[in-house]
Subunit: 266 residues, 2 copies
DNA sequence: TCGAGCGTTCGTCAAATGCGAACAATTATG
DNA sequence: CATAATTGTTCGCATTTGACGAACGCTCGA
């Protein structure tokens, strides 16, 4: 029995508004009737929701179709610029991508999922294509390098609840789908200080990731470098990329700590 | 008497949820009590809103503070990639920025305001700093080059209603604040094909902008190049930048039309 | 140890919303 | 070009929902 305590109160109207935003995103815009069918509410309700969101400038109407407005771009930018990991990590990610020629990602954990904060493509970068338009399936932590690095740095009970909530879906034959196996892997990651993704998300792609912690030792997120198995042999992963990535993770940590140290001077 | 017809129905709960999102953005995160005071609702209500938004993954809680999640970054990216102006204009903007060394912006009109879709900074770029964290005042169309270019390409009655709704606030002594003056200016812009911002938004900065239209002649948005008055003399604006910017606007239009032409082949 | 402030829960009542039907507008079609 | 079919919009009513304030629990600091 896991579910303890009481659930916080839910506002159905707010939840539905969020569903509508999600639907508009998936559909890339919709008319009243189409949307009403998609989220299973009456036409008149759909109309009311859409027009309220439009009044709030989150939705625009163009030729009878309602679409999400560019307000989301502004909000997203603002959110990102408030993320310390982005503020202090952006240039580090760019440098490493330029030096190595590969793809470098900066991410953190939110709601038990992986969220990319920033990515930079080196000259020979492969993969990392973004889910732009279509339904973007959420990114799990257990099949990416930085994701596993973050999991390894999280309290075990947190990992437990994440696994319980989201499960360990399989993406490739190499994906870790067994909780015990995952915990063994996390333990290994803890001792070596970095994580390797050996074609566990996409066949043909390996990656190496490291966690980024704040001054108190809490994980803020992770950084990873990824590329084709040809250039990312297991040997090179352990020998050259592991060092590169942990070094850069350290640089970001240092920048973070310097900034928080100077903050406390006030 | 302007207000004709009836207003569409407003869902107060949805509007409040949007207010809360906006408040969290302005405050950069908040606790329950702080937020409740800021949007003037009870603590228990604030609690319910925040937890519903959290359940929907739009908000995260970290050390007792609620903040907007990176979901907004994903949504914003998706919105942008669905914008034809971005898809076909991004590389053009980058090229012009690189060639000229100046700031180049791609924008469109939404809700009577200017919304930036993409920007690229050339080597000597000045200005264009983004409102990242703090309360971002909306950008008006009447004091930017691309904004005026778009207004000039919009139906007059549309401009009327925009002016009526948002007014013509003054940003610098050069800002056009008189409707008649604005309409005269728009008329001039229509005949010359481009717009000039002569320190109307920021003192020391001039810009030249041009509209971008689809195959039916409807404006989709605008593109502008901006820089310090030293390099952007009025002469050079009219002679060299006006040609540059209209040429690039045309390139984007061509790309747009080619893509929509090939679409209709199905 | 105690107090102050914040976060959370609960019950009640007023208010807001969901629905369907009717109407208007727009587009497709013969 | 006229008519049909589809979509968007408005309205009134029944009912569910959310707002409030009080009380409780928790955390942090004095």
């Amino acid at each position: 029995m896991t579910g303890s305590g009481t659930q916080p109160r839910r506002l159905a109207t707010v939840a539905r508004a969020c569903d509508i935003v999600a639907a508009l995103n998936e559909l890339g815009g919709a008319g009243v009737t189409e949307l009403a069918e998609h989220v299973d509410i009456s036409k008149s309700s759909a109309h009311a929701y859409l027009n309220t969101l439009r009044e709030q400038h989150l939705v625009v109407r163009d030729e009878g179709r309602y679409r999400l407005s560019l307000e989301f771009l502004y909000l997203g930018n603002a959110v990102r610029h408030r993320e310390p990991l982005f503020v202090y990590g952006q240039s580090v990610v760019e440098d490493l991508a330029a030096d190595s020629g590969e793809y470098v990602h900066l991410m953190c954990e939110q709601h038990g999922f992986e969220r990319n904060i920033y990515k930079s493509a080196g000259e020979h970068a492969v993969g990392g294509e973004y889910h732009t338009t279509k339904e973007q399936q959420p990114d799990y932590l257990h099949f990416t390098a930085s994701g596993k690095a973050v999991l390894a740095a999280l309290p075990e009970q947190r990992v437990d609840s994440i696994v319980e909530e989201h499960g360990l879906p399989e993406k490739t034959p190499n994906t870790i789908t067994d909780p015990d196996e995952l915990f063994a892997e996390l333990s290994a990651i803890r001792s070596q200080g970095y994580a390797i993704n050996d074609e566990e998300e996409v066949m043909g792609i390996r990656a190496v990731g490291a966690p980024i912690r704040d001054a108190d030792g809490e994980v803020l997120g992770g950084i990873s470098i990824s590329g084709p198995t040809g250039r990312f042999t297991l040997d090179r992963c352990h020998e050259v990329f592991a060092e590169k990535i942990t070094e850069r993770a350290n640089v970001i940590e240092a920048k973070l700590n310097m900034s928080s140290a100077s903050e406390s001077l006030r």
